[in-house]
């Protein structure tokens, strides 16, 4: 059984008489341990789909099952508790809490789980080591570079060992070299820890590191194409 299973997912917004449909009748299955990239033009509905899977947005119709839970049917409070255990979210703009150190930022989601202090410390240290920032534990976000901030963001997303980690343009704000490091880190986490990853990106090269690639076109999810063909077709 796939880890993420989506059926007929539609999201609509109503602005006066105007109807905006960022996502139209999408169906998708993601296996446990997979690394999926999602590409598409700006406004094609990538973030919308990602947010629905992460349980921070609600569909107009359709079903989303993640790790066996029908998340569209949960109440707001149940959904929050579900997110704490099952979702890691990596933001484009890192979104670290500015008043907390790298260590405290990573520990934050663990405070919601029934874990003893020692257990939390152990997990944070492992996550810090995994992203190579053990020596920056006591630094505040403003004392870190963009790439380091994003690595803290990644550590925060994986520290609770969630069922699925989503990333919305995780390298969108970074230079080419740093982006490469971050992508490599994500690839390693997927390969070594078996983290299930769904990553939105604009960049075909970034998308190509994923095991599987999806495209969205004006809210319509397209059949995955083999990556090499996609690149050749674009003349890359």
């Amino acid at each position: 059984m796939p880890l993420v299973e989506i059926h007929g997912l539609t999201k609509e917004y109503h602005k006066g008489d105007q109807k905006i449909v960022p996502l139209r009748d999408a169906s998708l299955a993601i296996d446990k341990g997979d690394f999926v990239s999602l590409m598409g033009a700006s406004g094609s509905g990538k973030s919308t789909l990602l947010n629905l899977i992460a349980g921070i947005d609600r569909p107009t119709s359709g079903t989303i099952h993640v790790a066996g839970t029908d998340i569209a049917s949960l109440t707001r409070t149940q959904l929050a508790h579900w997110r704490a255990r099952n979702v890691g979210y990596i933001f484009q703009l890192y979104n670290l809490i500015p008043v907390l150190t790298a260590y405290e930022n990573i520990e934050l989601p663990l405070l919601l789980l029934p874990l003893a202090r020692a257990e939390r410390q152990k997990r944070v240290e492992i996550a810090l080591a995994a992203v190579g920032l053990t020596d920056r534990a006591d630094h505040y976000p403003r004392q870190l570079s963009g790439g380091q901030e994003q690595r803290v963001g990644i550590a925060r997303a994986i520290v609770g060992d969630p069922a699925v980690v989503v990333a919305d343009e995780p390298t969108g704000d970074l230079d080419a070299e740093t982006s490469e490091q971050i992508l490599h880190l994500l690839q390693r986490l997927n390969a070594e820890l078996g983290t299930t990853l769904l990553m939105v990106t604009h960049d075909p090269k970034s998308a190509s590191i994923a095991r599987r690639q999806l495209r969205l076109d004006k809210g319509v999810l397209l059949e995955p194409e083999p990556p090499k063909v996609a690149l050749a077709a674009r003349g890359a």
């Binding site: 929050a80 508790h81 997110r83 809490i97 907390l100 925060r156």
Partner: protein, 381 residues
Amino acid sequence: MWKFLPYIAKNLWRNRTRSALTISGAAVAMFVFTFVGSVQEGLANLNRGSQTERSLIVFQANRFCPSTSRLPEEHARILAKMPGIEEAVPIKVFMNNCRASLDLVVFHGMPAEKLRKVRDLNLVSGDWSTYEKQRDAAMVGQALARRRSLAIGDRFSIGELTVTVAGIFTAANAADESFIYTHLEFLQRMRGMKNSVGTVTQIEILLAEGTDAKAMCRSIDEKFRTGAIQTDTRPKGVFQARAVGDLVDLIGFAHYLGYACVALVLTLVGTTTLMAVQDRVREHAVLQTLGFSWQRIFGLVLVESLTVSLTGGVVGTGLALAILSWKGLAVGSEGVTIAFSTSPLLAVIGLAATSIVGLAAGIVPAWTAARAEIVESLRSI
């Protein structure tokens, strides 16, 4: 919630100037609130612990200020023989100011042996034998001693009157601690008091157990009705209430000042908390994304609001009580004083008020933060 306290503290510290301004505003308001509460409680305590139900005050009829009432000392001896009267204490009152004053100094001259009998004084320094031997000796209430920095052996003058401090006392009733007790004769013979030997300001009656106070008032006044000097006798509580009557209205009005202070704290803390929440719309959306429930975010904002309000309350109330107990302030009128109370109850009321206000002020901001849509808030800058 304890696990999140560092996060709350750090957020307050991030905007420390704003937090500090709000806390000091709340502190000032709670300072005033406590002051108002203190004098109100002082008024309520006026008649406590001084046997006011069993005591009557005989005053000259149609006189209000103690400096104008003159009764023959002889009246005390006549009254002492009446059935139902246990003690009749002749008292000469001298004071620096007949009108309402924050620094009223009131001298009560009465025979030393009566003083020990009718007043429940507790000496904290000095001794009775020195007092009894020395003509110009004075027993000074602790509140007044503190206010005027008086110690044993000090000489203390008000106008033409100079006394030597022989003892400092505390009393069951805080208002008594603003008095100075001296020998009756010494006050009667002081310079500037013409023809005052053999006269007193008032006579304090201690009734025998089971005597009807009102009936006794009537029969005393009846007794002297045909004499040269008529009397006006009232239960001590009634007498005191009339003396501070003007102040009672003023203190009653100050009540509203107290409410205004609480409202001020509410708006101050509410505004600050709302601003803090508006600054962190995105941050709260991130917390929700991490799995913080809306209830938890609601709680975090409430605790933040409570922390600001309560800190202001602790500082303001604490400062007010510290100053009040150090200064021993009393407000008085017509020879009767109302001591500013410094009871622990005031601290409890102050802290309870700021707690409630802190929670109330946080409700709207907390609700705003907790119910915000995540995706929409994440898009905001």
